[in-house]
Amino acid sequence: MTVGRAMTYDRGVLVALLGIVAAASATAVSAEPDVPAAVLQAQADRVATIARARNSVVAIFGSRGSEGGSGIVISRDGYALTNFHVVVGTGAAMKSGLPDGRLYDTVIVGVDPTGDVALVKLLGRDDFHAAELGDSDTARPGDWVFAMGNPFLLATDFQPSVSYGIVSGVHRYQYPAGSFLEYTDCLQIDAAINPGNSGGPLFDSAGRLIGVNGRASFEKRGRVNVGVAYAISINQIKNFLGCLRGGRIVDHATLGARLATDADGTVRVAEILEECDARRRGLHHQDELVRFAGRSIRTVNEFKNVLGIIPAGWRVPIAYRRGGEIHEALVRLESVHAEAELWKQLADRPRSSDDIATIPEAVVPYYEKRTGYANFYFNRENQDRVFRALAASGSFDQLAGPWTITGQVEAGGQITLRLKQAEAACRLPMGESMLSEEEDLTAALDSAGDGGLLLAMHLWRKLLVAGSAGFDDLYYYGTWPLSHEGAMADVLVAQLARVECQFAFDSRDGRVATLELSTEASGDSCRVEFAEPQEVDGRWLPGRVTLHRGDRAVGSYKLEQFSFDPSRAEGE
């Protein structure tokens, strides 16, 4: 039977059967007065919940229609989640059908090839129905859940299918294919998931989004539901969302160590790289990992589960036991993939439709192809957003002349900083230091005199005065937690000469909260924290900066006087 003939026939049958079911359930309700009111109420609630939830469910189709899947809208302005493996099939531009019966042009935003997540944006409206995000860590085996989506691409009228089931397992670990499509800390459900459900929502019984359905155990019974499917937890996706919004190809993290279970059942460091932050923070071969990122670790799978929900670049708290003693550390997680390997995941899609010529006119303004990004348009948009927020603290672009900052060193004595466009100098009780962009900046980072403070302040000024133009390269990283219990911070990563500079912005006021310097040659980064803001001539400036090397605070400086000399021409 051809697929073409099957379609009309099937739809007829389906509609007829749905009618029968509807009629049957209506009859059943009226013919069974002994059904407890609570049960009828539960059913009515469920129907109402599904009716509400379905408005955010997307049927995604590729431009050729031969591929697709499902998705879920998570913001009024049309951001929607789906699977990475769905957008690999569709390319950068796709069509999204919503239950309102309309088809919306949709553009890729950011992807996470390891976690199998993609963020896309539906275009054309700012009042989409957005799903409410739930808390997937509260899910327990036995919870009622429902999955919605577009199985077998049935939803040609964009009305999503719904399947009901329970949570079969939580915190499941499913091995990757190679090192991609790894499902960590995922939810296992017995609601029917079939090809085409990919990227669709998993809702809890109250209609809150707790996961994105992405894979199922398909084996000898064929590529159909076998009552065993896996959803990426929404809590994992929340961690990655900031990075995805930035149009990036986001990487997962590595601790730099391989863990193994000992004969006595403890999880120990079996191998650890010499050059990784965990090693520098004191983690050694044979140490027992006790806690990682806030969760107790009893098995290697538990470790892999927690590691898999954290983007590369974040810092997480760890606790390890050595000789009966517990040690705690804050460790930065590094990228698990080499950039080229990661980028290849998107570049190698079979029928790449991100050639600008094939992209619909409506999508063209929202798509910018650039190596290393899923869609650089959204990176630029976020850079602009961060700079706009920063500008609220005062206008600095007229202050291109030298700055002089004086203050007190916490440990005693005076500090004087002179910052110019391409050079800077610093006087501290212990001596003077200078830097020039003509020379090797990496030397300034390791300066014995100021510990990197001068370079940090120099680059901070550069960001305020010149923005992205002051650097060789600048991109929006996404978000990371500013303190490990705290709010998320937008992060810009700038490159100048061979120094990488990461600016994290306080979400409350848009100002630079921390600045971190590192070079390709590994070693402890230099981190400066800005605090105690003060207003100087209508501009907000830090009243205190603290310098950190690794996990040690090496200096704290109270900044008292700022003087700007706008009259002198730049470059003198």
Partner: protein, 382 residues
Amino acid sequence: MPHCAPCAWRAGGVSPPVRDARGGSQPGANAPGSPIAPVRLLAVLVASAILSQSLAIVRAGADIHEQIAETQAKVVKIYGAGGLRALEAYQTGFLISAEGHVLTAWSHVLDSAVVTVTLDDGRRFESKLVGADSELELAVLKFDGSDLPHFDLSSLAAAEAGTRVLAYSNLFGVAAGNEPVSVQRGVVAARIPLSARRGIFESRFQGPVYILDAVTNNPGAAGGPVTNLAGELIAMLGKELKSAESNLWLNYAMPIDPLAPAVTRILAGAAEPLTAQTPTSKSSDGLDPRDLGIVLVPDVVQRTPAYVDEVRPNSPAARAGLLRGDLILFVDGQLVPSVKVLCELLAKAEHAASFKLTVLRDGNTVELTVQTPPLPSAERAG
């Protein structure tokens, strides 16, 4: 993992849905779908069953999670032989005593020198086979434990078509170590005789079974418990089988009430342990298969199945009715996992006596009585 696949839809030659000028959606072409209407009908029936069944869970109250967790603590993961294509080296079982008795399905997984049992809390034990019932295809394992949560086989719950159930198993080996096994929900659709096969062989177990409306009998699920919503044991998930009539994979469980007496017999020691006995040196006057006129297939692998390659005419084996192609399963109730073990068992058999052979022939088990020859008075030739 090969069994896990992303579930995007990809199909060739299907056009995208297009919108017409009037604003309505019009599928440009074809949603691929199952062309068989009855399958749809079944799906809808199942869907309606799920809707009605969901009501009961509402009624079961808020502590369903605790009850699931309590049941999960009684379920164990079993690791043994296998690992070849389509033969998983793992299955499921459940505790039936506080001291570490485990009821599970009799399968190739148990045919291993080391069968490991992993508890819900991650503890691992090596177990030994206490006994098995080849007709009911169940086995009882034992490891050294104490104070373990377990099902009480002396108080069994009844089930019938319409009973809502929860099925617990380590399907696909999803859970490892201390990870709780998977739980699925379903409804007993019927209690019927089993007419099924595995590969080309008919299932030895003939039922009755509960047919379930959920996909419960996945790889690794055999031996998992099925409970009602109160957590009472109803049945044990069976091995993966296809219906002999429809050739479709079955989702079924073996009601516990007919299994319980067999378990009691095994626990009472009435059934001989089926474990391969520790090999003993062949006594000089023991029997050899050749003494009985049996030529076995060449013993080329560690566990060569005891297939009969040839039966000598007018031999004790021929008189007993043994045929070429029979697979010898038991000697006097003792399991024969291999040619080697058969030779060891026969070596200990007595002359001028009789013993029972259980063989598999064309998918059926056949009992034969073999009269052993008297002790030879002279040296054997050759």
